[in-house]
Symmetry: C2
Subunit: 153 residues, 2 copies
DNA sequence: GCGTGTTATTTTATATCTAAAATATACCTC
DNA sequence: GAGGTATATTTTAGATATAAAATAACACGC
């Protein structure tokens, strides 16, 4: 068998594993808590940030989405009283997001369940295999694509 | 260091690698060809299917998306004359999608470039490492999540 | 032949993302 | 402190996804 498409085959395996797990987690979160994985990511970032919360820009950066998405995803969380938005007293332009008590409590439950799901999904891998997997994953370099695309243009 | 969150850390690494590469490929395809990665996937599936093409249901299954998405993603491709839709002569309900000559030609160019990008992104990995990576990836089992979610409900 | 039910696809409503335009406020220079 | 410029965020428009309702066509039993 030729190895000509090794990289493409590996990419398809990576994409399949990631999408499959993401879909399963999203379905689980929606079913159990009525929130998408995007919202879970917001709650997670804010939980980690603690009491000071995060500015909209910082939240956007951590979620690796666009600024518009942050506004939209936080909106329903604010409506439900899980997230609080206040103006930065030091910069009137900036908005600071943080978890309410209710939001923190809900997130704790979500995170516990989420962790169990992930543990189940990775059950077949030993800790050493997981470490090996992480080491391989970080060697993949998407920046190379951006470069070669620019060259071709 | 505790290994308590090994699985979650691995999941985050997987998600990061996959999203990063997907984003880079999507950006590359849009910049060079004006088509999203979703459309590329459609063209790819139809190219593989050859002259007989694929029924809408089969295309949906291969893309692993919902049936509605197939209708919507193919629409612009049909408008641009890259994909053809005809009624199945043996089943008036079914639609059969196939590539036009123009679509096949465009896809050939896209696929060649796509492969170069992926080769670049995986440059740091040896063929043996890629094989090892694939073997680890297929052991991840999202179905476990669906099961445990159902139990909890 | 004709209702009845199943199946294939499309349509519709909603959610989420991006990119770009609009808005609002801070900061800097004079 | 007034005006221009830069920056932070929201809004808007468009793409893509899902889920569920609607549409259309086949197929079976009578």
């Amino acid at each position: 068998m030729s190895d000509d498409r090794d990289a493409v085959r590996t990419w398809l395996a990576l994409l399949g594993a990631s999408r499959g797990l993401e879909k399963a987690v999203d379905t689980g979160l929606r079913g159990r808590f009525g929130h998408s994985i995007s919202r879970f990511d917001v709650l997670s970032a804010l939980d980690r940030a603690g009491a000071e919360g995060l500015r909209a820009g910082a939240l956007t950066e951590r979620l690796m989405v666009s600024d518009g998405a942050t506004t939209q995803v936080t909106a329903p969380l604010i409506r439900e009283g899980l997230v609080r938005r206040i103006s930065d007293p030091e910069d009137g332009r900036a908005a600071i997001f943080s978890l309410t008590k209710k939001g923190a409590k809900l997130f704790a439950g979500m995170a516990a369940e989420h962790r169990q799901w992930i543990d189940c999904a990775f059950e077949a891998l030993t800790p050493a295999q997981m470490k090996s997997l992480r080491r391989l994953l970080v060697q993949i370099d998407p920046v190379n694509i951006a470069r070669s695309t620019k060259d071709a243009a």
